[in-house]
Amino acid sequence: MSFLGFGRPQPTSAEKIAAIENELKVVAEMHSRMIKVCTSKCIDKTYREGELSKGEAVCLDRCSAKFFEAHQTISEQLQREGAQRGFGM
């Protein structure tokens, strides 16, 4: 560790591993939420068919794209307005 003021201490093993694991956790959670939401919006709950219909398949594709876009938009808006209102980030 440098005493001259430059050179941050290197992250420990545990910190590096935890950081990667956390990042993957965030991605996995988003994946899981997307599945729940798009299943609920697109899949016919009577389960008359075991196959995905063409309509359902297209709906899933569009739902996932919209989900990501909503995620981005909300994230950006939260940063803009949240900063004004004092939401920490």
């Binding site: 290197q10 992250p11 093993s13 590096k16 591993i17 950081a19 990667i20 694991e21 993957l24 956790k25 991605v27 996995a28 988003m30 994946h31 899981s32 997307m34 599945i35 729940k36 798009c38 299943t39 899949i43 709950k45 009577t46 389960y47 008359r48 068919e49 075991g50 196959e51 995905l52 359902e56 398949a57 899933l60 594709d61 996932s64 794209a65 990501f68 981005q72």
Partner: protein, 88 residues
């Protein structure tokens, strides 16, 4: 971030495996809840009726197909989002 040493890699892999097991249990749990809620509503008997059994089977098949498809879309969209963020 610096690359990981062999030991760190192994530790990470072991953690990710544990996480995957946990993840699978959670997916399984959601599947049971979802298909039960959608298919089972007749409590005149304590055995699943033929209709309910068929519905559950279709529900499971469809859920797995859905997860596969959404998994593909997610990977594409996530990659695109990361690329976009790197550009900024």
């Amino acid at each position: 971030m610096d690359g990981l040493t062999q030991a760190e890699q192994r530790e990470l892999e072991s953690r990710l495996q544990k996480r995957q097991v946990k993840e699978f249990m959670s997916v399984f749990g959601n599947l049971v809840d979802n298909c039960f809620n959608a298919c089972v509503d007749d409590f005149t008997s304590k055995a699943l009726s033929g209709r309910e059994g068929g519905c559950i089977a279709r529900c499971v098949t469809k859920s797995m197909t859905t997860q596969t498809r959404l998994g593909e879309r997610f990977a594409e969209l996530n990659a695109a989002m990361s690329a976009e963020m790197q550009k900024r």
